[in-house]
Point group: C2
Chain length 667, copies 2
């Protein structure tokens, strides 16, 4: 029923203003029901069982199967048009996947062929289980970096290569297990705690670290530091200047410039996506030919060397579930799992928003987790949806996850037949490819935007960045997450309180400081608390309200014309913005009321006699707050109609009229 | 200026309802000014420098000295009347302090005389520096328990008594350092994170643990477990039944009953406080006489044995700042420091509220910290304001901190002359005294109150209690604090969203579910978000609002009479309860607006053409939120007058009138 304007106009404003609504407690809900609702909101906010409502049983089975294996949903409607688009995009990302796979595996201190293995099996698993149409799956730079660095702290990849490989596969297994568990237990909201600012700072820092590591191959240095931080790397670079090889530097520089140019071209004109997509593979081919032609491997340019051939060997016998390295493996799995999950989910959501379809976060986690679990048994290491590769996939016109299948097939062909071709590929070109790939992770416009909107977020971002560069990747991330949570807790522990005033000519009350036309009402102190009231802030609120009262009294004294009946008589607390209250909060209200009584606000004896219960009044408590006040009522006597009001206007009008009535009785 | 009723009555309600106020950004404040305000609110919420304003320089020096040494404030006005009250209360708490000091020192595995040392120097320090008039300072049960148990994990008090004592003093030093630092750095709000529910559960658990430890002396067992948990203690008790000594049990039982009876009497009639205050000392004297008379120490009752005499020897040479135990000492100091600080501050605040004077939390922390630092150099271990002793002090009529001085003097006399009297005091009586003292820490009525008001708080309390009993004291506390913070984060990550409806006959909009008389407005979906919008909940809010929209459409379909122009046309978000927003929140608003456009709400072509900017409207953003929206305006175009409204009523009225106007143009 629309609010009927005519029914209002017949009543005078005074009548409407004087109307006092009863503030009622919300309808009673049993604790069990509330618990069920809370669990549902926490773990199933997207209500995945919606679609099952009111369907016949056979359809429910079908919907269930389609829910678990999304390929059953889009598979049957697949046609040639889609296939054409997918072939193009599949081949495009394959041309990226091959050089990147080899490069990233070296970044993780693993044999280069493991990178190609990881571009074969995981995309196939994802195509069956995943929900995103644009996600291109494979090894990624940051997870490779973290895996390599964390394992290298305890095991040397050069002295114990077999053990290192075993630990890498075991870490992948645990990463997958952790990711799938998060998805099963619907705990996906945990990755929400990595705020966008944190991620921007973190990824930029990681990009710098990865680039610094490439200085080894770009300069041709043999003796390089094991550490990752900026300072050790730079000192290693400048202490070993005699190891710099001019041939390597020349080749690296040329190819780096070439790759960065092609990237720039594709950024300017997205239609020329194939330029930057094909450039890495072209560089690999070109540089291999150069090295082969000039026999440059004997002239100071290091090459990959002979690689194995063939498809992924099974590796479940390599997984280690016991022994002294179990702690290391679990910790590495956890960190790489969380980072790669965050990237994969963020990429999936970004493209889903662009193309306006839904991606179920928890389901994606299960898909990525299973992908890693299966991969760990087929010689693959940690993989996820990579941002740059998915962007190319998207720009190349991918329509479904079949592009991942096409890519996997191409990689399979490479593994079976084309491996000897990489024998003469120089490491320097792989370094240049990695640097070009991670440069895109440094997002300066976004950082500037954050600086403009929220300085604290900017500081968090800077701390993540500096922590990663100077301390370590894991600790930089932990510091950033800690700062985010601390910010949230700080906002709670120091809530804002504002004084409200009346907007003249209306019954609206707003923040005096914000709206200049609002005016104070003499004798009334109207405060609004803008946060939940809980154990973390009741002490502060007590202090703050005492200060408000003292400030009010001071200002009254400073006024030149002492008015009749002036002085602070009533304190009204607007609880519209108080979203929750706990037992400490209820005590706080009770103690505040008692303290005001004892302070003896400057009411006349008449008023004191009339308002002997309270000089404190509450306005508009929301449902949950109301319930707690009601339950405390037996000891605190909160539910009186002259204590709780629906709006500030009603409270002021009621109190003023009652006081006038009393005074007139006594004149 | 009071809202003038007459100026309203002359205007019709329609005129007033149609008035649309411009939502303005708050006045600009520089970042520096905002940072200063935020720092001030965070660290100086009680504005301690208030009193210094506008005073001549000499007075400022005096006020400053009085601020640092409160004794200079109340000292000069001290008189005989106050002294009379303080003598009585001082002697009363001394009679408690002597037996408790000996008992608690044994609880901490320290020589009994250290407990008396700790009742001599610390109260003197507190009398000079402290602000509370009722706090009675000395060793406390829980801190003694924690100190003893944490140090005993690594060092045996029986085999290495000198080392144990050194570590205890060093821990006391670090505890005091930590406490004073918290006070200096104004980080006092950290202890606010120990919510009342947590503390009740924790103290009850600690009381049980302490009582279980006393079973050793109450039953006369020699071989007792080193562990603290319920299970090890019980198995130790029932495995060593042949060590139970009937004489000890008999004596222990009698005195325990006597002490509990006196405690009960004093609880019923607070005027008989001296009964329970004097009972421990009376028990000590009586039992010493009994043992001496019957030569009971040869009959199975263990006694304290010969104690040293004399005042506190200096112990700064015993403090250890290096070596392998440094980590243990720092950790123990931290935990005991936090716990004793919490108790001391809570006690001080409780009695200050009762007697209506102010206690500066941070200043108290400095006082307690310095007390412990000085104590560690004078053979005292961790002390603080004890709850039971302060209650006795208060009931006995203490007027100032001089009662602490009187107590210290009495203890001094005891140390100098009366120590030989304790030679025959049986340990079982000390155990009975401890049990009686900690029984008061179990607060069942408060626990029941928590159960009634907030079930989650009750679970936190229960976890603290069970954690302390079954795992360990430190870990039980850590679990409870973690649960508190998790609850706060969970509330933020799953904020409440409610649908608002119009209260008929007014322009007030309230929660439909809470106020049964509120009605929906067809074509409008009015939501209120009841929490800050930040990185932790934007994903959830996106899902939730999509669900609200789908639910709305489903309900519309189910209605029997399809109305003309029905269907969801506008989404109004009421931001009154959104206390803060960050960069993720700003992105959320932007993306929501775009998503609504793409969803194509069921507006007619006319409406779509008119509202081509947005189907989303925001109401009443608070100052800080408004600022962030404004700063994002260049890219997002938020500051349009037809996007932001001051109240829900204004938004609805504006939109309805504009639509009607448009439609009438096209009819």
């Amino acid at each position: 029923m629309e609010p009927n304007a005519s029914s209002y106009s017949s009543r005078s404003f005074v009548e409407i203003a004087m109307e006092v609504h009863k503030v009622v407690p919300p309808p009673h809900i049993s604790t069990i029901h509330k618990l069920k609702t809370r669990l549902k909101e926490t773990f199933f906010p997207d209500d995945p069982l919606r679609q099952f409502k009111g369907q016949p049983l056979a359809k429910k089975w079908l919907l269930g199967a389609q829910y678990v294996f999304p390929i059953l949903k889009w598979g049957p409607s697949y046609n040639l048009t889609l296939f054409k688009s997918d072939i193009i995009s599949g081949l495009t990302i394959a041309s990226l996947a091959i050089p990147q796979g080899i490069s990233y595996a070296k970044l993780a201190n693993l044999p280069p062929i493991v990178g190609l293995y990881s571009s074969f099996v995981p995309p196939l698993v994802y195509a069956v289980l995943g929900s995103s149409r644009d996600l291109a799956v494979g090894p990624v730079s940051i997870a490779s970096l973290i895996l390599g660095s964390m394992l290298r702290e305890q095991v040397s990849p050069t002295k114990d290569p077999v053990l290192f490989l075993q630990l890498a596969f075991s870490s992948t297994f645990f990463a997958g297990l952790f990711q799938a568990s998060l998805g099963f237990l619907r705990l996906g909201f945990i990755i929400d705690f990595l705020s966008k600012a944190t991620l921007i700072g973190f990824m930029a820092g990681a990009a710098i670290i990865v680039s610094l590591q490439q200085l080894k191959s770009l300069l041709g240095i043999t003796h390089f530091t094991k550490k990752m931080g900026l300072v050790p790397v730079m000192s290693s670079v400048f202490h070993n200047t005699k190891e710099w090889s001019w041939q390597t530097i020349l080749m690296g520089f040329c190819f780096l410039v070439f790759l960065l140019l092609t990237r720039h071209v594709s950024l300017r004109k997205p239609r020329l996506f194939w330029v930057s997509a094909g450039a890495p593979l072209a560089s690999v081919i070109l540089s291999t030919l150069l090295v082969f032609a000039f026999k440059a491997q004997h002239q100071g340019i290091s090459v990959i060397g002979k690689l194995e051939e063939g498809l992924n060997p099974p590796s479940w016998n390599m997984l280690q579930f016991h022994g002294s390295y179990l702690g290391l493996v679990i910790k590495t799995g956890l960190v790489t799992g969380i980072i790669s999950l965050t990237e994969g989910i963020a990429v999936g959501r970004t493209f889903a928003a662009l193309k306006n379809y839904q991606v179920d976060g928890n389901k994606e986690m299960i898909a990525i987790g299973l992908m890693n679990i299966v991969g760990s048994s087929t010689s693959c290491y940690v993989t996820t949806g990579a941002f740059s590769r998915s962007a190319v996939n998207h720009n190349a016109g991918a329509k479904t996850a079949v592009s991942n299948i096409i890519m996997a097939m191409t990689v399979m062909v490479t593994l079976l037949f084309l491996m000897p071709l990489f024998q003469y590929t120089p490491n320097v070109v792989l370094g240049a490819i990695i640097v070009t790939a991670v440069v895109g992770l440094i997002d300066l416009p976004a950082a500037y935007q954050i600086w403009k909107i929220d300085k604290y977020d900017f500081i968090v971002m800077l701390c993540a960045f500096l922590g990663v560069i100077f301390i370590s990747v894991e600790e930089g991330l932990a510091i950033a997450v800690g700062l985010c949570i601390f910010k949230v807790l700080l906002q709670i522990t120091r809530p804002k309180t504002v004084m409200l005033g009346n907007m003249p000519g209306t019954i609206i009350y707003r923040n005096l400081h914000h709206y200049k036309e609002a005016v104070k009402i003499p004798g009334f102190l109207i405060l609004s608390i803008e946060a939940p009231i809980n154990f973390a802030n009741t002490t502060y609120l007590n202090n703050r309200i005492s200060r408000w009262i003292e400030d009010y009294k001071e200002e009254e004294e400073e006024e030149e014309e002492p008015k009749k009946h002036s002085g602070l008589r009533f304190v009204i607390l607007d609880l519209s913005a108080v979203s929750a209250i706990d037992t400490s909060g209820v005590s706080f209200v009770k103690d505040l009321r008692k303290a005001l009584e004892m302070k003896g606000l400057e009411a006349s004896e008449t008023e004191k006699h009339h308002f002997k219960y309270s000089f404190l009044f509450l306005v508009n408590p929301i449902g949950e707050v109301m319930e707690k006040l009601q339950r405390a009522d037996e000891t605190c006597d909160f539910m009186r109609p002259d204590f709780l009001f629906l709006t500030v206007g009603e409270a002021v009008a009621f109190l003023m009229s009652t006081v006038k009535g009393q005074l007139s009785n006594h004149v």
